[in-house]
Every structure is written in structure tokens, then in C-alpha cells.
């Protein structure tokens, strides 16, 4: 009985933390005014926000019904895929020149996103052709 009470409070706590972080992530998305800084809010705050919500779901399932660990999988896939979508959005920003131009790499010629073959240069956006 005591465990159920503890679990209810733990679930409530996780739900509040998750909801708060998700809210802050969305606020950040609205507040920042540059495409690249905007990327930071959902990629990080989102992972803990959703992580806490899933933890709440997991505790609830463990105590009040037969425990299910599906949520662990959701969390694992989320942590593996979030950086990839962030990376793609960042690449689009660099490619379209909607952020300040990155400094050139110290060793190699250029960043792979800007590594456009000679024949396709004409198709590139203006801002970026300078690089």
C-alpha cells in the first residue's frame, strides 16, 4: 500500500518535470530568433521532457499493471535519432545560408555540406557561393 502511494507521487513528479521541460523547449523554440539557436531548445530540453514522461509511464505500468518496458525502447530510439534530425536541420541551415557562415575547417578544404561540385555551383543560393 505504501509503495503505491510512493509510486503515485513519483509518477506525478515525473509528469510535472516532463511537462515543464517540454513547455520550456517550446518556449525556446518560439523565443530564439535565429535558425541555429532555435535548434538547441527542442533537441535537448525535448529529450529530458519526453524521457521524464516515459519514466512516469514506466513506473505506472510497473506498479499498477504488469510491467512493460516498451518505454525503454522509445527512450533509446529517441536518444539515438534526435541528434540525426538536429544534424540534418543544421545542414539545411548551412546549405541555405540562413545562419552566419561557419569558419573554414583547419585541415580539410571545406565542410561537407558546402562541398558542391563545380558544375552545380550555379544552383547554390547567393549567400553561400561566397564561401
Amino acid at each position: 500500500m505504501i509503495w503505491e502511494t510512493v509510486a503515485i507521487y513519483a509518477v506525478a513528479f515525473c509528469l510535472i518535470v516532463g511537462a515543464a521541460f517540454s513547455l520550456i523547449g517550446s518556449i525556446g523554440l518560439l523565443k530564439f530568433n535565429d535558425a541555429m539557436t532555435r535548434l538547441h531548445a527542442p533537441t535537448k530540453v525535448g529529450t529530458v521532457g519526453i524521457g521524464a514522461l516515459l519514466l512516469a509511464s514506466m513506473i505506472h505500468a510497473q506498479i499498477f499493471s504488469d510491467g512493460a518496458l516498451h518505454d525503454l525502447l522509445i527512450m533509446a530510439f529517441l536518444f539515438v535519432t534526435a541528434p540525426i534530425s538536429a544534424n540534418f536541420i543544421a545542414k539545411v541551415n548551412i546549405h541555405k545560408g540562413s545562419c552566419t557562415a561557419p569558419p573554414p575547417p583547419p585541415e580539410d578544404d571545406t565542410w561537407s555540406t558546402l562541398d558542391v561540385p563545380e558544375t552545380d555551383r550555379a544552383l547554390m543560393p547567393e549567400t553561400e557561393a561566397l564561401n
Partner: protein, 166 residues
């Protein structure tokens, strides 16, 4: 014997991982499910081996466990930090910066792990890799000293990854 092993199991860790994922999806551990999971874990890496020829060799699992714990802790800290920046820093005082990290890691798997870690941890997103793969472009949300961010990444994550992927 060793060749037969690698022919059957091109990625032994992937086999193990797929089996565990299958069991988690099922939600129950019964002998039948373990066997079916193992069959999937053997067939899928075997079928996709052509697109993933190299096997990361010499993974040090104990060091990897330490690394995962450090990264999970950093993710928690990073979230609080970024939440604080979102709520309290006005846009005008925000100083985003590009950080270039020269890489000592050479294996694609190791660089992928490093890039993923950077994206999930304190105020940084890995944006791009240079055309030959010798440096990583990282965007920092708010920093006064980009060099310190670079040194921190190299010290905290890359050094450990170099030890994991020998």
C-alpha cells in the same frame, strides 16, 4: 573457426542488441521468443552486412558503460542549463558561436557517437563534418569562450572514445 564466426555473425554486438530489442518489444521473456529474437538477430546483420562492411573491433565494454553514465549525467545537467538560458537570457545577450573541433578519431562509428553525444549535451549541436572527416563543426548556444568548449569536448568525450574504440 574465427572466419566462420564472422561469416555467420558479421556484427556480434548488433545481434545481441537486436535480440534484446525484440524481447523488449514482446514484453515477455520466454524460450520461444529468445530463439526467435536470436534468429532475427542473426538474419538481419547477415542480410545487411554488404552495406556495413567494417566491424568496429576491440570495443571496451566496461569503459563504454562508464561513458554512457557520464553522458546521461551530462544530458541532465545540460537540460537544466539550457532551460535556464531559455528562461532568463534575453536574445540580445545571447552569444551563439561556431566551434571547430579537430578530430583524432578516425572510425566512422566513433565519430558518429561523438557527434551524437555533442548534440545531446551542454548547449551544443554538431552541425557538419569536413569533407575529409578531419574536423567537426559544432554550434554552441551560448558561450564566451569557444576554445574552452572545444577543449572540453576533446577532453571529456573524445579522449574516452579513443580509449573505447581502439
Amino acid at each position: 573457426m574465427k572466419r566462420a564466426f564472422y561469416w555467420l555473425l558479421p556484427h556480434p554486438f548488433l545481434t545481441l542488441l537486436l535480440t534484446v530489442v525484440w524481447l523488449l518489444l514482446q514484453g515477455t521473456v520466454s524460450p520461444g521468443m529468445v530463439v526467435f529474437g536470436l534468429i532475427l538477430g542473426i538474419l538481419i546483420p547477415w542480410g545487411t552486412a554488404a552495406w556495413w562492411p567494417g566491424t568496429p573491433s576491440g570495443l571496451r565494454l566496461s569503459r563504454m558503460a562508464v561513458y554512457i553514465v557520464i553522458v546521461l549525467w551530462d544530458i541532465m545537467v545540460a537540460n537544466v542549463q539550457v532551460a535556464w538560458i531559455v528562461l532568463t537570457k534575453p536574445n540580445a545577450r545571447l552569444r551563439p558561436a561556431w566551434v571547430v573541433v579537430p578530430l583524432e578519431l578516425r572510425q566512422p562509428e566513433a565519430i558518429t557517437v561523438l557527434a551524437g553525444t555533442i548534440t545531446l549535451t551542454p548547449g551544443t549541436v554538431s552541425a557538419d563534418l569536413s569533407d575529409e572527416g578531419h574536423s567537426l563543426l559544432v554550434h554552441a548556444l551560448h558561450t564566451d569562450d569557444p576554445d574552452a568548449v572545444r577543449d572540453d569536448i576533446k577532453q571529456r568525450y573524445e579522449r574516452r572514445l579513443l580509449e573505447i574504440f581502439t
